[in-house]
Symmetry: C2
Subunit: 121 residues, 2 copies
C-alpha cells in the first residue's frame, strides 16, 4: 500500500510527567479529538482532506509544561488549529496539569515548520 | 472539580502486539477520532453531549485480534458507533494488523454492558 499524505496532525506529549502508557494514550486521544474539532471550525477543508487520507498522525515529545505551552501559542499565532489538554487529575497527576497538545490537521509543509525538530515519542 | 459524566468512549488496545507507548498513543488517537466520526453520523446528540462534558475516555486492554474483533462486532450489533483500526504497518508491526477499536461515545450504562469487565491499560 503506497499512500501519499499531504496533511497530518501532531500530538505533543510531556515526557517529564512520567505518565503510564494508558494515561499517555488517553491524553493523546483527547488532544486528537479536540484539535480535530478546532480544525472543523477553522479549516473544514483541511479536516476533510486529512480524514479521507487516513488521518496521518505523529506523536512527539516535549520535556516541560513551558515547552508545551510555547508550541501551543506559536501554533495559534500561525493560525493553526490547536488544543491544549488539561487533565482532570483524578488519577496519577494533580488536577489542572497540562499534559498534551494537539496541532492540526494541517498541511505537512506548514506543520513541519513548527514541529519538525521535535523527536517522536 | 466535581464532574458528572453521562457519556464515555472506550478505546480497546491490543496488548499482545507489544507496541511502544508512542505507537499505542497513535492507535488510540486514531480510534478516538474515527469512532467520534462514526458517532457524528449515527447519534450526533451523543457526540455533542460527550464533547460538552469534556470527552470522558477509558483505555482498555484486550489480549488478541480475535477479542478485539468480537468487541467490535458486538458493538455494531448493539447499534453503537465503533471503529476498528488497521495499522498501515510502516513501523513496528506488519501492514494490515488490527491494533485498536474505538467504541462510543455512548451513555455509560449501555457501554458498560459491553466493556465493563475489561481492565484498564
Amino acid at each position: 500500500m503506497l499512500r501519499e499524505f499531504r496533511y497530518k496532525q501532531a500530538i505533543l506529549v510531556r515526557t517529564d510527567l512520567r505518565m503510564s502508557k494508558g494515561k499517555i494514550a488517553a491524553q493523546a486521544a483527547h488532544a486528537a479529538v479536540s484539535a480535530a474539532e478546532e480544525c472543523r471550525k477553522l479549516r473544514p477543508d483541511w479536516l476533510e482532506a486529512w480524514l479521507s487520507e487516513g488521518q496521518k498522525k505523529v506523536i512527539l515529545r516535549v520535556e516541560s509544561e513551558d515547552e508545551l505551552r510555547r508550541f501551543y501559542e506559536e501554533a495559534k499565532r500561525m493560525g493553526l488549529p490547536a488544543s491544549l489538554i488539561e487533565d482532570a487529575g483524578l488519577t496519577e497527576i494533580p488536577p489542572g496539569t497540562l499534559t498534551a497538545c494537539g496541532i492540526g490537521p494541517a498541511p505537512f509543509e506548514i506543520l513541519d515548520k513548527l514541529t519538525g525538530r521535535l523527536k517522536l515519542l
